[in-house]
Amino acid sequence: MRDFQYVRPKNLDEALEQGQGARRRFVAGGTLLVDLLRLDVERPESLVDLNGVLSSDITWDAHGLTIGAGARNTELAYHDKVMAEMPVLSEALLSGASPQLRNMASVGGNLLQRTRCSYFRDVGVDACNKRKPGSGCAAREGYSRMHAVLGVSEHCIAAHPSDMCVALLALDAVVRTRHRSGARELALGDLHILPGDHPELETQLKPGEIVTEVFVPSSERARRSAYVKSRDRASYAFALASAAVALELEGPQIKSARIALGGVGTKPWRALEAEAALQGKPATRESFEAAARLTMNGARATSHNAFKLELAPRVVVAALTAAGSKS
């Protein structure tokens, strides 16, 4: 691992100052960054430690849940209110990584998780537009079983790996940030950006901007929510396809729905067409299946990951069924 400097700011303002500069990286849990440092994918000149700066509080009030960006995944996953009021979030978190990693990983870091594309992670491979803009994409002609089918571009097909983000997307979460130039709020759906011509750009965040909090509104829908994840082994694996869904029912009818997909998109993927198709329909398997088929509209698969076109809708149906059966 290359050497780097390390600073431990005493407060957020100091962190915002110290985070200025293209080769500075913020660190909280370190589960992603230390891995990428060791792979030589990240080569920062210095790390700015946000532990002791970020809040790790998780608070519940009449409006919903406020999560300090420093909160660890474990604490969020087992929080009473999260389990009761927004089960999809708890289920998504517990389907990701291992207990050890969840003990370490912060919520802020999880939002900014980088792809597991094997070509991105291997500096021995020259062609990776995300790691080395303009160098090409080895995955398009390579082994792409784990890669995305939605939101891909000719320059990048890397899948977004987070489970938590998918659940937060289905819960209409809002991300709060601080920058030297001020504070702002972003809908979670606006945080991540499509690879397009610039796969190296992954989020709307400006250099030196810090995620401080995530807010998740409480709702009827959030209570009737579920996460289903399909993967290569029973536990401790990234998603081949996953779905976070939330249903608001009125009698037997669906008043509103949220459907977000993981493992298939270049960013956490909101299935707006499918959501609209469920509105006003009875909460039955037929409705779920019809809506699920729409989630793959616009998908572009490779020969290795075409199975996801079939798998993902099935996962969506399973998640809708699970959510629908919750009271």
Partner: protein
């Protein structure tokens, strides 16, 4: 250089010992002899196990040996010879006995304190005798009962001898830098990028200087000699490095030592109470929950976290909550049994 070193020793012993940060094996012998390649490799392996460098103080020569470097003979200079003489004197090593084929081996820990001392007959060759003494030192460090591990030497001696450790460290330092006829080097300032870190491991406090890139796992294994925590993948994918930090299980390979702060760390070495194994250790043996054993320390530490969290009760839940620990031998069935029987054995 020696005077400067002695001066530093007096005034900045703490700093010096901390920056040295590595155990040191001191060997008093007639000479280094001519080790066979096999013996040299075995010596290397023992030094790696101890995480130590070797300094051979001969009657007329001085050798420095770090496990991953080539053997280095140090040009004797007046100052070095004076320093060596001083060590002979202070450690009460009789040059006559060395000439007659004896060897004295001392292991100093990272803070320069004497941890092990042994005088042996080297009739069949100095390298061989050195290797045997090293092996005994290694075994003592790893498997000796806590108090013997702590002190094979009486406490009173320790206090007297600990300062001498600093002198030895100064000499080892000199080995690295001494260039014949070169002007005496000024004491190297601590590296700009090293930070003082206090690690509290298994109830013991350790002062280290580390670069920010040093993982907790490497600090434990390479600096503190606690090689129970294993390096499997070094990427948070296998769990072999699992330790408890502040009572929570984490991957030590993805944890930077500098970020641990004063949070207590528990490794597999801190699980037993003296000779009495932790219920999980005992259960892993009883249930035959391992084949090669490489993942076992991580499995046990992870299981310790699991039992403490108290969220996994059924076999399926245990499997899910231990999924961060991979076992290539596939001892999973017995691992689950061991965890369940340790839970039952544990007073709740």
């Amino acid at each position: 250089m020696l005077d400067a070193g002695l001066d530093r020793m007096g005034q900045h012993f703490q700093l010096l010992a901390r920056s040295a940060g590595q155990p040191l094996v001191l060997v008093f012998a007639r000479n280094w002899g001519e080790p066979s390649p096999a013996t040299l490799e075995a010596i290397r392996a023992e030094l790696r196990g101890l995480g130590a460098a070797l300094l051979v103080l001969g009657l007329h020569s001085l050798f420095c040996f770090r496990p991953d470097d080539e053997l280095e003979e140090v040009e004797p200079t007046a100052v070095l010879e004076a320093g060596v003489g001083k060590l002979f004197e202070q450690y009460e090593v009789d040059p006559g006995a060395l000439a007659a084929g004896q060897l004295t081996l001392c292991v100093l820990d990272a803070t320069g304190r004497l941890r092990f001392r042994r005088t042996a007959d080297a009739a069949d060759g100095i390298p061989e005798a050195l290797l045997r003494a090293l092996q005994i030192a290694g075994k003592t460090a790893i498997s000796g009962p806590a108090d013997a591990r702590d002190w094979l030497i009486k406490r009173r001696e320790v206090v007297v001898l600990s300062l001498l450790g600093a002198l030895a460290l100064v000499l080892a330092d000199g080995c690295k830098r001494e260039v014949p006829n070169a002007p005496a080097p000024t004491p190297a300032p601590p590296k700009a990028r090293e930070f003082p870190v206090t690690l509290r491991v298994n109830g013991q406090q350790h002062e280290l200087m580390v670069e920010p890139r040093v993982s907790l796992l490497d600090a434990l294994r390479e600096r503190l000699g606690l090689t129970g925590s294993k390096k499997g993948c070094d990427h948070g994918q296998c769990g072999a490095c699992t330790v408890l930090v502040d009572g929570r299980r984490v991957n030590a390979c993805l944890t930077l030592a500098i970020m641990v702060g004063d949070k207590p760390v528990t490794t597999i070495e801190g699980m037993a109470e003296g000779e009495r194994l932790h219920p999980l250790q005992a259960a892993f043996i009883t249930e035959d929950a391992l084949q090669c054993g490489y993942c076992t320390p991580g499995q046990i530490m992870s299981a310790a976290g699991l039992l403490k969290e108290n969220r996994a009760h059924t076999d399926d839940e245990v499997r899910e909550h231990l999924s961060g620990n991979i076992c290539r031998c596939g001892a999973y069935a017995n691992i689950v049994r061991a965890v369940q029987s340790a839970r039952a054995a544990r007073p709740t």
